[in-house]
């Protein structure tokens, strides 16, 4: 996939003017945050980059009525990423890499199997984070053994990425200590720094009755608020959702195992059954084109086969 093509899809700008959508644009023209036409073919792109977000792979899940290809979907996604014409700078997995189990050994085995499968990715840099299925039952012990730290930061081409753990406490709490760590990190950043937060659960109250929230998420948002250019990418809810808290945009990703219904649309939350007439419907991954100079992020949703 060329940079030219990457730019020609849904555009989202999490800066001040809110989210701007423009579908299937052609010839390298898009809309900027104010809605005016931008000629991307002539724009400077040397600092731009893109990364891929995969989420909620739930390796180990079994339920033929929900996903009869439970053992093949992640492998297809790996193949899809490897098939991208231009490889991303890096890949992020926003949690629930494995499906939960009470059996510690099975949990560890699932993590090893997951690692083995994603080791097939051509892109050498992969950033992992935990979901509650990976980390809530043992407060992240097995996860840390397999993948490393639960919260950390990294920098890439002018963007500061912050990985926040809102799952290893089974009560869906970030916690005082991590909040202090976050505040100390943010102190090192200028107020106009380009900041991307990666996390598993929504930091705002999307639908708390379905556990779609972080109990102290508002404290995280308060800490981020003085920074002008913050965008959050997360998982957990197994569907796209785009939300603004003030100037901070929050974008959730689809799952690679099963979709979940729209918030509050059914009495009880349960996976959306497999549609044999449209296999893998509701599942997918996404590419995110980062334009640090403009503090903008273009999201392109891809299906499991990468189309």
């Amino acid at each position: 996939m060329s940079k030219f093509d990457r730019r020609g899809f849904i555009k989202l700008a999490g800066l001040g003017g809110g989210i701007v959508f423009a579908s299937s644009l052609s010839r390298g023209f898009g809309l900027n945050a104010l809605g005016s036409v931008v000629d991307y073919a002539n724009a400077k792109v040397e600092n731009d980059f893109y990364f891929v977000q995969l989420s909620d792979t739930h390796w180990g899940f079994a339920g033929p009525k929900v996903n009869p290809d439970a053992e093949g979907t992640l492998k297809k996604a790996v193949q899809a990423v490897n098939s991208l014409e231009e490889q991303p700078d890096f890949i992020v997995f926003t949690g629930d890499l494995t499906h939960t189990t009470d059996d510690v050994q099975v949990r560890k085995d699932r993590m090893s199997q997951f690692k083995e499968i994603v080791s097939g990715l051509k892109v050498p840099t992969v950033h992992f984070m935990a979901g509650e299925h990976d980390a809530s039952l043992d407060r992240g012990d097995a996860y840390q053994e397999a993948f490393g730290k639960l919260n950390y930061t990294f920098d890439h081409k002018g963007v500061h990425f912050i990985v926040i753990d809102n799952v290893s406490d089974p009560g869906a709490i970030v916690g005082e200590s991590q909040l202090n760590w976050l505040k100390a990190d943010l102190k090192q950043q200028k107020t106009d720094a380009r900041i991307v937060v990666l996390t598993h659960r929504p930091l705002f109250d999307l639908y708390p009755d379905w556990d779609w929230s972080t109990k102290d998420g508002s404290a995280v948002i308060d800490a981020l608020m003085p920074h002008k250019n913050v965008t959050v990418f997360y998982g957990h809810i197994h569907q796209e959702n785009h939300h603004l808290t003030g100037h901070i945009a929050h974008h959730s990703a689809k799952s690679l195992m099963f979709p979940l219904p729209a918030p509050g649309s059914v009495p009880k939350k349960s996976p959306v059954p497999w549609d044999a007439s449209a296999p893998y419907k509701g599942l997918g991954l996404r590419s995110i084109e980062a334009e640090p100079k403009q503090a903008k992020y273009e999201i392109k949703e891809l299906n499991v086969t990468g189309a």
Binding site: H99, D102, E132, L137, V167, G171, P208, D211, S270
Partner: protein
């Protein structure tokens, strides 16, 4: 006992009776209604009972215990929640101030089935 003494004694008895009756009436009129206690057991992955009917304005205490591991109880519509630990009884006191059907759920991740660990509080007039 002469007539005067009898009259004084009778007056005294009547006065004491009046005071006691008054106190009883006052106490009844101002008494806090007794709390209704409801026992709830949490276990992977349900609550028992999972449907609870309450009366608006009637104070209630939920006494919640766990049969297996850590759980949470969250009834967001009334802003009440508690952590539920094995071997302990967690108490939640509240008085429903609105009628309707409200969901409560486990808000401490407890395993494969946690997402479906919910129940309903029905509040009637």
């Amino acid at each position: 006992m002469n007539h005067n003494k009898k009259r004084i004694l009778l007056t005294g008895v009547l006065l004491v009776s009046a005071v006691v009756s008054g106190l009883l009436i006052y106490t009844r009129a101002n008494a806090v209604p007794a709390e209704r206690v409801i026992h709830i057991t949490a276990k992977k992955f349900d609550f028992s009972p999972d449907s609870i009917t309450l009366k608006k304005g009637e104070p209630v205490v939920f006494e919640i215990s766990s049969a297996d591991r850590e759980h949470g109880f969250n009834l967001r519509a009334f802003g009440v929640r508690a952590n539920i630990s094995p071997g302990k009884v967690s108490r939640i006191r509240f008085t429903p101030d609105k009628t309707g059907k409200f969901t409560f759920s486990c808000d401490v991740f407890c395993g494969d089935g946690h997402e479906e660990m919910t129940g309903t509080v029905i509040v009637t007039e």
